[in-house]
């Protein structure tokens, strides 16, 4: 079969096959992943900067505050011990001891006249009722930012301690600059990273999409590359490849069956057609004509029965008939079949003996099991020589039920046994006997529906066919059926 006969993907109808590499920018999953990456990257950069800020400038701030509070507390306690002069001298001591000249000490009376301190006047810009604040103070001709703490002393006196906060200011200015640049770098890195992620994403799925496109265009031999890293993408690739393998096998099966149909049905159709045409041209009497028509009818009935068998097999394979599953007495079913066929065997000078375990029960489709076993018996009768013995046995084997039909005919070649369940397969020595080559294919379909299989073996001489079935097959569907 050439590729030309494969169904071509429809290109009309709004571009059923969109080119996977050129989606709209906003619709592109790659862009989406990139944006998500950039956003996450930006957010983490901001969080990092915030933490840095808090742990440097913030820490400095908190240290100064704690120092000022401590200073103020000790001055208050000096006041209680030694009074105003004590505070004044303590302040002087501290001012003199302050080598770095980064401290501010002020003491004022209730009218805010300066009593002691290292400034010219009580800072006017500090509101009277405010305890904490920042002041610009002129020191040595330089404008210095100070963090100050004002507090009351008994008797209406007010004191102020302060520390140079320009270090913190410098630091925060430095940090601001750094953070600004860092933000810029983060944006650049985010964009570059997003681009890289998008590219990576595309590169990873490019092979998958290329393979899928090739397959949908009809090339079923293409497979997704597995990189051997055993990662998620390899897993995906393997899953897709397994799926493609299965599709390929199914396609082969379909191809094989349609070839077989074309070939195997052509013969009887040709025969019927020839017969009719021959009669139409050459028949001399009405009786001749009638006979030819009748025989053509028989041929056509044969063709119909092949079709029916094929449809039934595919119906069974589709699993559509699990709906008819129920528990039934397999022993009774087999006894009936044995009785039905025993008469035929006897008429042909053969014997049919049966050995079936009492009370053998099966959860399955009664009609289908009947047909499957009937097919096996049909075969056994067909290939047994006169005087031959046929045995049917059935017994429970753990969770399985085994049904064997044994004949002592010519048997089957080992190589043929492997192919015996293929549709339309007929062993070389069976070609002269009537049949369509679908009997065992149906038996196999029935066995598989019942979670089992069919096995062929040499009965020395003859053929032993074993039907293996799950005696209580339960899946979700049948479980609900039994519950209902």
């Amino acid at each position: 079969m050439s590729e030309g006969t494969l169904p071509q993907p429809a290109l009309a109808g709004g571009g059923a096959v969109r080119k996977l590499t050129q989606p709209g920018l906003l619709r592109s999953a790659g862009v989406r992943f990139g944006v998500i990456y950039a956003t996450l990257f930006g957010l983490s950069a901001v969080a990092l900067a915030g933490f840095l800020w808090w742990s440097t400038a913030g820490l400095l701030d908190r240290q100064i505050t704690a120092e000022l509070q401590q200073d103020a507390d000790s001055l208050v306690s000096v006041y209680f011990d030694e009074g105003l002069p004590g505070v004044t001298s303590a302040m002087k001591d501290r001012i003199n001891g302050n080598i770095d000249d980064d401290a501010l000490y002020l003491l004022a009376d209730p009218e805010f006249h300066l009593i002691a301190g290292n400034a010219n006047a009580w800072p006017a810009e500090m509101p009277i009722d405010q305890d904490w604040g920042s002041l610009r103070v002129k020191r040595d001709g330089l404008d210095v930012l100070m963090r100050v703490h004002a507090f009351d002393l008994p008797g209406g006196y007010r004191a102020m301690v302060g520390r140079d906060a320009s270090v913190r200011q410098n630091l925060s200015r430095l940090m601001e600059g750094a953070l600004f640049w860092a933000a810029g770098i983060a944006v650049v890195l985010g964009v570059v990273g997003a681009w890289a992620v998008r590219g990576l994403f595309r590169a990873t799925i490019a092979d998958v999409s290329a393979t899928a496109m090739a397959v949908s265009a009809g090339d079923l031999s293409r497979r997704v590359r597995v990189h051997g890293q055993d990662d998620e993408f390899d897993l995906l690739a393997e899953t897709i490849n397994d799926m493609l393998d299965r599709i390929g096998r199914l396609m082969d099966g379909v191809k094989q069956v349609s070839n077989a149909i074309a070939h195997d049905l052509r013969t009887p159709i040709t025969r019927a057609r020839t017969r009719l045409e021959d009669a139409s041209i050459h028949a001399k009497t009405e009786a001749d004509l009638r006979q030819a028509v009748d025989r053509a009818l028989v041929d056509l009935d044969g063709i119909v029965s092949v079709f029916q068998a094929l449809l039934r097999i595919s119906e069974i394979e589709a699993g559509a008939r699990r709906s008819a599953f129920a528990r039934f007495d397999l022993g009774a079913v087999l006894a009936d079949l044995a009785e039905l066929y025993e008469a035929v065997a006897e008429e042909r000078g053969m014997t049919l003996s049966s050995d079936v375990t009492q009370g053998l029960s099966l959860f399955g489709d009664r009609d289908m099991i009947q047909q499957a076993v009937a097919n096996l018996l049909d075969n056994a009768l067909k290939f047994s020589p006169e005087g031959g013995a046929i045995e049917i046995r059935a017994w429970q084997d753990g969770a399985l039920v085994r049904v064997t039909v044994t004949d002592h005919g010519p048997g089957m070649q080992q190589a043929d046994m492997l192919r015996a369940t293929e549709r339309f397969f007929r062993a070389e020595q069976a070609r002269s006997t009537p049949g369509s080559g679908l009997g065992l294919a149906l038996v196999q379909a029935v066995a598989q529906l019942h979670g089992g299989e069919i096995m062929l073996a040499d009965a020395q001489p003859g053929l032993r066919t074993t039907l293996v079935l799950q005696s209580s097959l339960t899946d979700d569907k049948s479980a609900t059926l039994t519950a209902a």
Partner: protein, 227 residues
Amino acid sequence: MRILVVEDDKDVANFVVKGLREAGHVVEHTPNGRDGLFMAASENFDAIVLDRMLPGGVDGLKLLETLRAQNNHTPVLFLSAMAQVDDRVKGLKAGGDDYMTKPFAFAELLARVEALTRRGKSDAPTTKLMVADLEMDLLSRSVKRAGQKIDLQPREFRLLEFLMRHSGQVVTRTMLLEGVWDYHFDPQTNVIDVHVSRLRQKVDKPFPQPLIHTVRNAGYMLQLEEP
């Protein structure tokens, strides 16, 4: 008998109508589901041969369901190209009495239609069947011919019972498989012929007049005269 054929395929319909008329029946035909429903509901028929896929908005299933909802129990035989087992089950569930798939042999169709009409009539339970000098007692499960007892296996008894219940009618091999063995497939082997021939050995052979006749290309018939 009056038979209604609802079938949209012209060739199939002509063939069926012609065949049924030749067999001595009065046949009405319509190719359309709606008309079919109207005729089936308003007139009295002994049997209806019904296609499933019909034009006119009313398909065969719908037609039958409507008919049964009106408490009309005219025997219905589906004649359909829908051959899957589930289709058959659906047809019988909807109230169909028999289901045949296309393509079909006319002899089979005729035999089944005639069997249906017979079934419609004999509602009362019978305990005794009689054909000529052949007697079957269903209660004691014994068979006599010309006063002489005949020993039958259980399956042979049921086979003869089926033939006697349809005496004077053609009974096909498929009908026997379904009716006597409850099998819904066609074995490749001539199993039915063998069983009928065994029955003949017991029922016909010892007596001068055969009762079980073979009808060529169709099946068997149990009656006194040659068919």
